[in-house]
């Protein structure tokens, strides 16, 4: 399944890459990508693990960019 999030306040391109890499390493994620310009995060992964994936992703975003808000769209 595919989930899309807006990363509000994303201002650092290098952090965007780090966030993307971090989420890609989470268990159950098929692919994750952060588009710095549209400030969008798209996660594709297994349906049953999605709640855990999202929790993990939030943690990663918080650690890399504490001011960024991750909002599902």
């Amino acid at each position: 399944m595919k989930k899309t999030f807006k990363l509000e306040g994303l201002s650092c391109a290098a952090c965007a890459i780090k966030i993307e890499r971090g989420i890609n390493e989470l268990e159950g994620v098929d692919s994750a990508s952060v588009n710095f310009l549209t400030a969008k995060l798209i996660i594709e992964g297994s349906e049953e693990k999605m709640p855990d994936i999202i929790k993990g992703a939030r943690k990663i975003v918080k650690r890399k960019e504490p001011y960024v808000k991750m909002v599902e769209i």
Partner: protein, 642 residues
């Protein structure tokens, strides 16, 4: 933003004051520098500290904090303040440039409709397009954006499709016409019945496609990601070694001098210029192409397009219109209009493609009272009694059977040797002859054929001019027709009478002929040749406007049915790639230069940071040029057409 500018200005004034103060008491300028430092860079030091607690080292804040605190530690107060000052100025410009690019992109994507006027009973309600259902009746006023794909039920108007197709010529719509979301209604009020939910409507699909194009990364982007991963740690480690090794090993060296050099390493250790500008270049290229009616589904396809070496085409529907049309009437005695009228009436009950094309060419209502008896002979033709005369319309076999003598020159395989008016020749492909006899007397024949698209020849010429080595055509059509079309268009290689499986084999054969790094592009209609589209390095579907299957199957979708857009797509791709490469080379070489100069102690700290943020800003501005590529491409196209 404002806040930062004020802080930069105060910091700068204090900095200048400290520089100018002439006093023996050391602590006075030192205090001023410290106040200036806290004003300008306090927030950076704070977030660096809090990042360390979260386990984040090596981020920009941390590096800048270390560099500036290091400068203070070795007594270079002015440099310490300058680092923060220039860093903040650079950040300011950078965020301005990123902001500007985000806005340009938002503008590019500004085809999203905001509302729909939905008719409910007597009232017109303003609704969110996402809440409108299939079958709802929507009202679109002049100047409004069409919110959902729909079918016109009342009113006529012209619509501007340029946001989807890049086509500036408006399209006329009337009851029965399909209209696509994202286009702008221009002249009249229209009522239309919604045919697709918002998520399935053209505008949503295009936006999703372009936004998701970032997921399929090009080699350049992958390189940057990898580069960014190693660059910072490597530079930081190099800085550590540079700070401590030489003074320990070499005689007569002070730590202060080498630490100073190492600090310059830290300030250029962020790969920002690259990680922002390269993806931005690709995104801009893809966005710019979409405004020309060319949807590219990822940076990787853009890269492959730029390296196109062989371009293969399907024939029907790609290079030709894929529709039979009446091309010529060669009548004797009876005038052409009456001839066509007789043929159309005779064929009026048939569903054969020939009949359809005749009725379309006739274009007037059929007068049923003129027809009294119709008999269709499958595979041959039709006999009908019209105005009391027996009219026979059919192919050669039909004429032979009725022993009617026809005398066109049947030795000609193609039309070149036949007596077709010169003006039409270039548009004809694979014709069928249809004869007509009245009361057993031969009256003449018509030529019905698929037309070669107007821009097909130019499309092939453009490809050749852009350096594509070989063009090929793969068609299921019979040999003479295929060869004829290929010859007219100047296509190098042609394979005819191919079944879908055989098309696949031919594509694979062609691919073995590619040089290393060369790519094969295949353009088809996206409906019958999905496997071939998938097999080619880049599969291009033509005429994607409204055809969902094509949008799904291909890597690149050309919204209009013009094959000349393929050359344009290649041009845009090359330009985009060139800009991305410029940025990579520019940014990396400036960084390396600064690293070398700092290692040799030939540059000041503040100059290093100035170079670093300057590069980022310049690279972003350079990347923004990709957004405008479609304009230059269209200008070139116009010149070529002349």
């Amino acid at each position: 933003m404002r806040n930062r500018i004020i802080r930069i200005i105060i910091g700068l004034l204090l900095f200048i004051a400290a520089l100018l103060i002439d006093t023996d008491r050391q602590w006075i300028p030192m205090t001023i520098y410290l106040i200036a430092y806290i004003t300008v860079g306090g927030d950076i030091v704070l977030s660096a500290a809090s990042n360390i607690f979260r386990g984040q080292v090596f981020d920009e804040n941390f590096l800048m904090a270390i560099a500036s605190i290091g400068a203070f530690a070795i007594g270079e107060y002015a440099e310490g303040v300058a680092v923060m000052l220039f860093y903040q100025v650079g950040e300011h410009f950078q965020s301005y440039a990123v902001d500007k690019s985000r806005k340009s992109i938002a503008q590019l994507m500004d085809i999203r409709p905001d509302f729909a006027n939905v008719r409910e009973g007597e009232n017109i309600l303003l609704k969110d397009p996402g809440e409108v259902n299939i079958g709802d009746i929507i009202l679109i006023k002049p100047g409004e954006r069409i919110p959902l794909d729909a079918k016109v039920i009342e009113g006529t108007s012209t619509i501007d499709t340029s946001a989807l197709t890049g086509e500036s010529l408006p399209r006329v719509v009337e009851p029965g016409s399909e209209i696509l979301s994202g286009c702008i209604n221009q002249t009249g009020v229209i009522l239309a019945a919604v045919t697709k939910m918002y998520e399935e409507s053209t505008v949503s699909r295009i936006l999703e496609l372009v936004e998701n194009a970032g997921n399929k990364k090009s080699k350049s982007e992958q390189f940057i990601t990898k580069f960014a991963r190693y660059y910072t740690p490597v530079v930081v480690i190099a800085a550590l070694l540079l700070a401590f090794l030489p003074p320990l090993i070499l005689p007569d060296q002070t730590f202060g001098n080498w630490i100073y050099r190492a600090l310059s390493f830290l300030v250029v250790s962020c790969p920002c210029a690259l990680v922002i500008s390269v993806p931005l270049s690709f995104f801009g290229g893809i966005g710019g192409a979409s405004r020309r009616g060319i949807l590219i589904k990822g940076g990787n396809y853009l890269e492959a397009l730029a390296r196109a070496e062989i371009v293969a085409f399907d024939k029907t529907g790609t290079l030709t219109e894929g529709e039979f049309n009446l091309i010529e009437i060669h009548s004797r005695e009876i005038d052409k209009e009456e001839f066509l009228s007789l043929a159309a009436h005779a064929e009026s009950f048939s569903s054969h493609p020939v009949a359809t094309s005749l009725l379309r060419a006739y274009g007037r209502p059929i007068d049923q009272t003129r027809i009294s008896d119709i008999q269709e002979i499958p595979g041959k033709g039709v006999v009908a009694t019209i105005d009391g005369r027996k009219v026979s319309v059919g192919n050669d076999k039909f004429m032979d059977e009725m022993e009617i003598h026809y005398d066109i020159n049947k030795s000609c395989d193609s039309f070149e040797s036949c007596d077709i008016e010169e003006s039409n020749v270039s548009f004809v492909s694979g014709g069928t002859f249809v004869h007509l006899a009245v009361d057993g007397v031969y009256a003449g024949y018509m030529v019905i054929a698929d037309r070669i698209k107007n821009d097909a020849r130019q499309a092939i010429l453009n490809l050749k001019a852009s350096g594509v080595k070989k063009t090929a055509m793969l068609t299921g059509d019979i040999d003479p027709v295929g060869k004829d079309v290929a010859a007219r268009l100047g296509i190098d290689e042609v394979h005819t009478q191919l079944l879908p499986q055989a098309k696949m084999e031919r594509i694979e054969e062609l691919m073995t002929g590619l040089s290393k790094g060369g790519r094969l592009v295949y353009a088809g209609d996206g409906i019958n040749d999905a496997p071939v589209l998938a097999r080619a390095d880049v599969g291009i579907a033509m005429g994607g406007l409204g055809a969902d299957a094509a949008i799904e199957a291909a890597d690149v979708v050309i919204m209009t049915d013009e094959p000349s857009k393929i050359g344009e797509a290649i041009l845009i791709s090359r330009k985009t790639l060139k800009i991305a490469r410029q940025n990579i080379i520019f940014a990396i070489s400036v960084k390396i230069l600064v690293l070398i100069l700092s290692a040799l102690n030939l540059t000041a700290l503040w100059a290093a940071i100035f170079a670093d943020v300057g590069v980022t800003v310049l690279a972003v501005l350079n990347a923004l040029r990709t957004l405008g590529i479609h304009m230059t491409a269209s200008i070139k196209k116009k010149k070529n057409n002349r």
